[in-house]
């Protein structure tokens, strides 16, 4: 579904941050992306959610070669990708409901349809009582769940999460991970970047390990947490 071949990435005239990256994400797969700080995780995620074009190499999204795609064709592909940012990136002046509704409104969904979907999803992530709260009044875990709800409201083909548990406590990390696994079971290809090795072991999914700009794939183990 997504494949990278000999991908290199540098900003401006600087050194390559990613070198000869090659991997593929099959449909409905779940991967962790791990690596020390500065290894290039965020850059790789930016390539995955189409914030940047690679400096070199072949990238294929949903059967389409990125190099041959016109800029005007990219919004359609981006709508198939849900992104959860480490710092949530919610609109502070909008309520939780309005934040989550944005991707649907972008696609021109009808008001009633938007209301049904958003309410259902916010209930699913346990925020049925916080729908009309603004981000400033939400806790870190609540904000992250709003961000996740916004990322998945469109039922994306690919979900990219950057350190989704970085700003929440252990209990909330576990709950969020349950959410990702549940989503993946419903068919969403998922890649989660994290520093949290315990979290990685708890799920037992394959690991893409980035070190010094190069990537390697480690097979998944047996989940430690039976609930995951």
């Amino acid at each position: 579904m997504i494949s990278f071949e000999n991908v290199g990435m540098r900003y401006g005239m600087g050194n390559e941050i990613l070198t000869d990256i090659g991997f593929s994400l099959e449909r409905k797969s779940f991967h962790f992306l791990v690596g020390p700080s500065g290894a290039g995780k965020t850059t790789l995620l930016k390539l995955l959610y189409l914030a940047h074009r690679p400096s070199r190499g072949l990238v294929n999204f949903f059967g389409k070669d990125l190099a041959t795609l016109e800029r005007s064709a990219l919004p359609r592909i981006r709508r198939r990708i849900g992104v959860v940012f480490q710092d949530f990136r919610l609109f502070d002046h909008l309520t939780a409901f309005e934040n989550v509704a944005l991707p649907l409104r972008l696609q021109g969904a009808k008001k009633a349809q938007v209301a049904d979907h958003v309410e259902e999803l916010l209930s699913w992530v346990g925020l049925e009582d916080r729908m009309h709260a603004r981000p400033a009044t939400l806790s870190g875990g609540e904000k992250q769940r709003v961000a996740i709800a916004r990322a998945i409201i469109n039922k994306p083909d690919l979900l990219v999460a950057d350190e989704p548990t970085g700003n929440v406590d252990a209990e909330m990390s576990k709950r969020l991970m349950h959410l990702f696994v549940a989503l993946n079971k419903e068919g969403t290809t998922t890649i989660v970047a994290t520093h949290d090795e315990t979290l990685v072991r708890s799920v037992g999914a394959p690991i893409l390990r980035l070190e010094k700009g190069q990537i390697s794939l480690e097979p998944g183990g047996k989940p430690i947490d039976p609930g995951a």
Partner: protein, 292 residues
């Protein structure tokens, strides 16, 4: 162009708060300059209309008998010319009154030879070839000199044209300054909302969807500022009209706002808001092209 707008920008932005006021000031200056240019144009038109409907003929001959003979011949020719409604000689007393500012109160019986002055009025719709008429007059009465005011009227018209061009230059500069201010304002707005724009972009919003949010915002700024500026300018113009009327008919009077003039005033805020919106749209679209 006016499709559904997905407004993701916060309602208020401090950096954009001054923009309607600046647009208001620009529109104020623009309106006054335009009104000035139009007033001068209209004034000159009315004034020259009055002057071209009449002219004068002088019979400059020293000998009184010969002057009288040439005057009679000239009057006959003028009255027979199509388009001339009437031609009459001014009485000596009237001529002396006209000359009084230069010669003082001189007795009419003075030895100073005073030319005969014939005042000629044209029919309302008539046009007379004054050059050909002057030639025929000289053939009939060699001492005749036709004065249709062209010599000094053309200088006044030239001056008025220069002033109008200057005012048009002011309008163009004000419009360009407004565009520049909107570009700066829009860039400041873009910087303020950079993160929101990026998120929308990554969610799959098309450039036009994002720029529409700015379109609506800047259209509103343009309308607010535009109406403010034009209302202020209209008030000033009304005051000037009152002043001009109290001073009597003058060059500046004719073009100042009458009821019909208010129509073009109302077009200005709409034009300003469209200009503001289009400037913002182009600025935003150009900035968005920098994103992948």
């Amino acid at each position: 162009m006016w499709g559904r707008t997905l407004q993701f920008l916060p309602e208020k932005s401090l950096r954009e708060g001054l923009l309607p006021w600046v647009i208001g000031v620009m529109l104020f200056l623009c309106t006054l300059s335009l009104a000035g240019a139009l007033a001068i144009g209209k004034g000159i038109e009315n004034w020259s209309l009055g002057l071209t409907s009449n002219f004068s003929v002088q019979i400059v001959v020293k000998d009184a008998d010969e002057r009288q003979r040439q005057t009679t011949a000239a009057l006959r020719l003028l009255r027979a010319t199509p388009g001339i409604e009437n031609a009459k000689t001014l009485a000596d007393a009237e001529i002396m009154a006209l000359l009084a500012p230069w010669l003082g109160d001189m007795p009419i019986s003075s030895e100073l030879p005073i030319p005969t002055l014939i005042e000629v009025n044209l029919s309302e719709t008539a046009t007379v070839d004054t050059i050909a008429l002057a030639e025929r007059l000289v053939a009939t009465a060699p001492g005749a000199q036709l004065d249709d005011h062209q010599a000094w009227m053309s200088q006044i018209l030239e001056l008025a044209t220069v002033v109008q061009l200057l005012l048009a230059g002011v309008v163009i500069m004000v419009v360009l300054s407004t565009v520049a201010i909107v570009i700066f304002g829009c860039r400041a707005g873009l910087a303020t909302h950079q993160e929101s724009i990026e998120i929308m972009h990554l969610m799959g919003a098309e450039d036009k969807t994002i720029s529409k949010a700015f379109d609506a915002r800047y259209l509103a700024h343009g309308l607010k500022g535009g109406f403010l500026g034009v209302l202020l300018a209209a008030s000033v113009l009304w005051l000037l009209t009152d002043l001009a009327e109290s001073m009597g008919q003058g060059l500046i009077h004719a073009g100042l706002p009458e009821a019909s003039s208010l129509l073009w005033l109302s077009v200005l805020p709409l034009t300003a808001s469209l200009l503001t919106m289009l400037t913002a749209r182009i600025t935003v679209r150009k900035a968005l092209l920098e994103l992948m």
